[in-house]
Symmetry: C2
Subunit: 275 residues, 2 copies
C-alpha cells in the first residue's frame, strides 16, 4: 500500500498529531475504484468532495495537482484509491483556527475480493442512524455509527447489514447504498436525513430511472429484487436477508453488464462474480 500526504501544496512525511481529523473526525473522504491507473468516476467523486467541503467550510485542494498525485501513486494499477481531506492541525477546541491548512492523504489499497457469485447475504442492524440533515449525504469522517453497525455481526456468511434511521426508515447498508424493485420500478431511500449519497448510487439511479422513496422493513422484505452498490464494488445482487431469499434477477444482471460496458473498471468484478 502506498500513500502521499499533502498539507496545502507541500508533501509531508507524517501526520500532525494535532490534526483535527484525528481529534474530531473533522474531514471528508472518497473511496474510488481505479482501473489501469485511472479513476473513471473521478469527476463524480471530486464533485461530492467539493459539495462536502462547502458544507463543512473546508478549503478544497487544487484539483489538477490532486489528480496528478493520485495518478502517480496509482502507477497504472487496478486498485482502490482513498482520499482523506481534513481541516488540518489545530489547537484544542472546536473552533477551526484561522491558520489551519487542510491535509490531504492519498492512499492506494488492494481491490477487495470478488463478491460471491450467488449474491450477498444480509442482516438487519440494531443500531439506528441518527437524523442529522446538516451532514446527511456527505462522506464525512464521523463514522462511529457505521463502526458500531459493522461490529454487530461476526458471522462470515453475512456480507453486509442494513441500517434504519431513528425514524424507522431503511437507509442503506453499512458501506453501500440500497435499491429495491417493486411493481416494476426501482426505488432507493432518500438521503436528506442521514446516509451517504454514493457515486455508484447516482449512476444506478440514472441507469434504472430509479426514484427516491422512503422505505420501511416490509417494503424491503417484500421487494421483487434488491441490490446494494458502492463505487468500489459496483452492483451487488442480494440473495438473502434473514429468512427471505431472492433468486438472481435479470434486471440486476443486465445492470451489472451495463456497468461493465460503460465503466470497464467494473468488468473484472463482474466477470469474477460470474466465473
Amino acid at each position: 500500500m502506498s500513500r502521499r500526504i499533502l498539507i496545502g501544496d507541500r508533501r509531508v512525511d507524517t501526520i500532525d498529531p494535532a490534526d483535527r481529523g484525528l481529534a474530531y473526525g473533522d474531514g471528508l473522504f472518497e473511496t474510488m475504484r481505479a482501473h489501469r491507473g485511472a479513476v473513471p468516476w473521478w469527476d463524480a467523486h471530486w464533485a461530492r468532495l467539493v459539495r462536502g467541503a462547502g458544507r463543512l467550510r473546508l478549503p478544497v485542494p487544487d484539483p489538477a495537482r490532486t489528480k496528478q498525485e493520485a495518478e502517480a501513486l496509482l502507477d497504472g494499477r487496478d486498485a482502490v484509491l482513498k482520499l482523506l481531506l481534513t481541516r488540518g492541525a489545530g489547537g484544542r477546541g472546536y473552533a477551526p483556527p484561522e491558520s489551519a491548512e487542510p491535509m490531504l492523504v492519498l492512499s492506494v489499497h488492494d481491490l477487495p475480493p470478488a463478491s460471491p457469485a450467488e449474491g450477498l447475504s444480509l442482516c438487519w442492524c440494531d443500531i439506528r442512524l441518527a437524523v442529522q440533515p446538516a451532514l446527511a449525504g456527505l462522506k464525512h469522517s464521523n463514522r462511529l455509527e457505521q463502526v458500531l453497525a459493522r461490529m454487530e455481526w461476526d458471522d462470515p456468511a453475512i456480507h453486509e447489514g442494513l441500517v434504519r434511521s431513528s425514524e424507522g426508515d431503511v437507509v442503506c447498508a453499512t458501506a453501500a447504498n440500497l435499491f429495491i424493485l417493486r411493481d416494476g420500478s426501482w426505488h432507493t431511500p432518500p438521503l436528506d436525513r442521514c446516509g451517504v449519497a454514493g457515486v455508484c448510487r447516482a449512476w444506478a439511479m440514472e441507469a434504472l430511472g430509479a426514484v427516491e422513496t422512503r422505505l420501511d422493513v416490509t417494503d424491503v422484505e417484500t421487494a421483487e429484487a434488491i441490490f446494494l452498490c458502492n463505487a468500489v464494488r459496483g452492483i451487488l445482487p442480494v440473495a438473502r436477508l434473514g429468512a427471505r431469499c431472492w433468486a438472481p434477477h435479470p434486471q440486476i444482471s443486465a445492470l451489472q453488464a451495463r456497468l461493465a460496458v460503460e465503466v470497464p473498471a467494473f468488468a473484472a468484478a463482474f466477470t469474477m462474480e460470474r466465473s
Copy 2:
C-alpha cells in the same frame, strides 16, 4: 506543548496514517485540568473513558502506566491534559481488524484564558444535535456537530453557543454542560439522547442536588440563573443569552467558591475571574 504517543505499551514518534481515529473518528478523548502536575479529577475522567471504551468495544490502556506517562508529561505544571484513545491502525472498511492495537495520545496544553469576570455571553446555535442513544453521554471523537455549531458565530463578544437536539430539547453548550435555576432548584438536561456527560457536571449535580430535567428554550430563558461548566474551566456564570440578561447570582458564586476549596486546581480560575 508536549506530547507522547503510545501504541499498546510502546512509545512511538508518529501517528500511523491508517489510524482509525483519523479515518473514522473511531476513538474517545478526555480533557482535564492539571494543577501542579496532578489531575484532581483523574479518577472521574478515567471512569468515563472506561465506560466509553466499553460502549465502543475499545481495549483500555493500562491505567497505572497511563497516569505515570501523564504525570511525567505534566512535569509539575498547571495545564490542560488531553488523552485521545483511538482503535489504532486498520485497513479500509468499518470492521475493526482483529489485530488493531489502540493508540493513546497524551498532550499537554496551556490553560485557557480566564473567563470574563462579568459572566459569559451566549447565543443559540441553529444546528440541532442528532439523537443517538448508542453514543449519547460519551466523549467520543465524532465531533462534526460541535465544529459546525462553533462555526455559527465569530463575534468575539459571544463566548459560547447553546445547542438543542433534533427533538427540540436544550442539551448543552458546544463545549460545556448547562445548569439552570428554577423555583429554587437546579436542573440540567439529561444526556441519554445526545450530548456529553461532563465530569464537572457530575460534581456540580452532586454539590447542588441538581436533577435531570428536559428543558426547552423558554425554560432556559426564564430561568432565575444559569451557568455552564466543564472540567477545564470549572463553573462559568452566564450573564447574557441573546436579549436576556442575568445579574450575578449568589448561589453560583458560592458554587465557584466551593469548587475552589474542594478542587484547588480551579482556585486560580476563580480568583482570576474575580480580580
